[in-house]
Amino acid sequence: MATTDKAPVLVVLQLSGGNDYMNTVIPYNDPLYRDYRPRVGLPEEQILPVDGEVGLHPSMAPLHAMYTQGKMAIIHGVGYPNSVRSHFRSMDIWHTCEPDKTGTEGWLGLATRQLDPRKDNIVTAVSFGPCMFRALSVSGVPVACVDDLESYGLLTGISPEPQRAKILERFAQNYSPLIGTDEVMKYLGATGLEAMAGADILKVAPQRYASTVKYPETSIAKKLKGIAQINFADLGSRVFYCDHLGFDTHANQLPVHATLWNDVSQAIDAFFADLREHNAADNVLMFLFTEFGRRVRDNGSGTDHGAGGAAFVLGDMVQGGQYGEYPSRKPSDLTQGDLAPTLDFRGLYATILEDWLHVDAQPIVKGTFEKPRFL
């Protein structure tokens, strides 16, 4: 089990759209790979070898370097029984750990409640995106939702700043408890003050930040930079969540997928460089997942929705290497033309919850699953 003096921090990067497992962790030594991927295959000489069997996508050089240093775990064949090939439903399943019914409580929202049961810190969980990820959504658990840290806050359109400050002061007064108001008004009041306090807390992060690391000019780099800023500001945030869109590569996959992984890898590289510069790399774990892998056989230009996928866990405390088993590519072993998952994602969650965040995984994943031991 990994230990560190500082409170462990989890950063989730969701690869939305269904990342193509077979072109991310490429089974290039398997002749079937060439059969399945006549148009959407990667030339062997460009693949970054991991062992004699599989290699990483050519755009993943920084991640390959982390793997070589033993700081990245590749988790093979992740999925769940009776794979769903709808983006939204599958994402819901990953977010709620409920493959058989519609879940309403997000796994990291539940984890946040365990981390901070009395809501002492309203920025324990921070969601980077225009709306809250369902993974974080649990009734009564505060989550700070940030799309852009630089412009985050209430009534940010009002200028100049002293005038805005004055209006925010009135806002706070108007949301303060009043005698004789009903439960809903009280709830609205508390929620408004919570939103304002969260914004106040987070706004110090960019002000306190200084770094020599240059992040690329990409949307994912901007999000990771914001996460780094909040992390360095010591605000007690423990769970960060962000995503990168566009992995739904039905067509024109080769150039699109290369750009996606280039952007993600470069951003992660900058993020970890920044963590190291701030001596903060030892208590941050980054987890990358996607809602499903893609169809084994290409469609001539891209790949369609599939099942089993790959997940990655990165950080100084990770026991690097490969976990789980790459699903068989033999035609007879495929289910509906897709890789059959070999590892339930809830086991992966259990490792992160129990061995990193030190919370009780049982009520979150609701069952016992094989845990990959990468910590």
Binding site: S86, H87, F88, R89, D92, T102, T104, I122, S127, P130, C131, M132, R134, S139, P142, V143, A144, C145, L154, L155, T156, G157, I158, Q163, K166, I167, R170, F171, Q173, N174, Y175, L178, T181, V184, M185, Y187, L188, G189, T191, G192, E194, A195, G198, A199, H250, A251
Partner: protein, 466 residues
Amino acid sequence: MASKDIALMAHLMRRAGFGASRDELEARAAQGYEATVEELLTPEAEPVDRYEFLRYQPGFWKPVTSPGMGMAAWFHTMLNTQRPLEEKMVLFWHQLFATGQSKIDHWHELITQVDMFREHAMGNYRDLLVALAKDPAMIYWLDNCDNHAHAVNENWGRELLELFSMGVGNFSETDVREASRAFTGWTIGYTPPRGYYNRWDWQFEYLEEDHDDGEKTFLSHTGNFNGEDIIDIIVQQPACHRFIARHLYNFFVADEPQVPAWQTTPPRNPEAIDTIATAFRESKYDMRSTLRVIFNSDFFKNARFARIKSPAEVVISLLRLAGGFEFPAPGIGQLAKQPTYMGQELLNPPSVEGWHTGAEWINSGTLMKRVNFAASVLGDFSRPGMRAIVDRIKGQGALSPEGFVDSCLDIIGPLDVQPEVRQRLVEHASEGGTLRWGTAHEAETSQKRVGEMLQMIASLRECQYC
């Protein structure tokens, strides 16, 4: 014009529509309340022309139905309709018969479902249930295409009873089974698209050979029932009348507890539910007659600001008030995502149970979105509706801080706020002194102050209600 007439008319238009400008409120108040209710129930204005939207947003044109555009076509209709109650009822049916893109993965079929809701918006509920049972998106959403004579799938049969018509506790597991059997063979057929990449169009198909024609016993009735027979039995049930009445009350009158609690939590106004349920039953399930009773009742008229606005109501009413968003300009796809950011992704509810309403719309993230979006719209005086508001306030001449605050509270509602809140707004207004419009400089400063005051009011708790 008596201010209480305007306040009542504003209430009616917020609930039976998406709000209205002061000019419209005055014109309607002059016609009278009941006449306005009749006009809303039987609108004569032309429906919104879908082709107008498609002409400028060809990416939405079938059979491509660009996924990125999402609910933009419906959003455009809500922004432009001159038949507001009809569109509000479309929203009502969408929230009740929650069907989601998450599984359908076919925007065109969802828009077709919304068009079907519009066709039946204020018509007969029984006919609507039959249309719903034949709606391809619904058939796929609740797996009735997998409901076969020799392999019954109960998904649609169960939700028809539990979520769409009667509520839990009013039927048995046997009833679910028997209803499901009656809907075997109600499935979808496909029309191949013109292009390789496009979605296949769906249409309702009844497969006689896949229908279980055997005898069924459903809610104490026995016969060789088909789907329509089941619906005919459902609509006779008192449980159905109360269920629809409670949904209408929650949507149009005042926030009720969440639907799953209905079995154990009584309505906040049982007499009102009785009144609505009776109107529904006596009119043979005619929505127009039922709505007429609601809007003309005292319990409705006395329920000002008794509901938390849904995200769709927040966004559409602000954009209609400000004006200038009528044309489907580039960016409408992004604009249509605003309700999503506030927790209501139209055409993609979280599950078949739909959204939780009332206070559950609000958390610290969504509240911030509501406040910031309102501020961005109300601070933009390039919008014709915002200019009209300034002109009205300007028309009142120089205003004391009290007069200024009251004038803003009036134009945005009229909105009632706690005396302490009004006092704080007055204190804020006092810092700028009397509102004057004499010189160009004064007019410029005053316009900015009006914008700021409206933004402060829109960010109040009171403004989350309608």
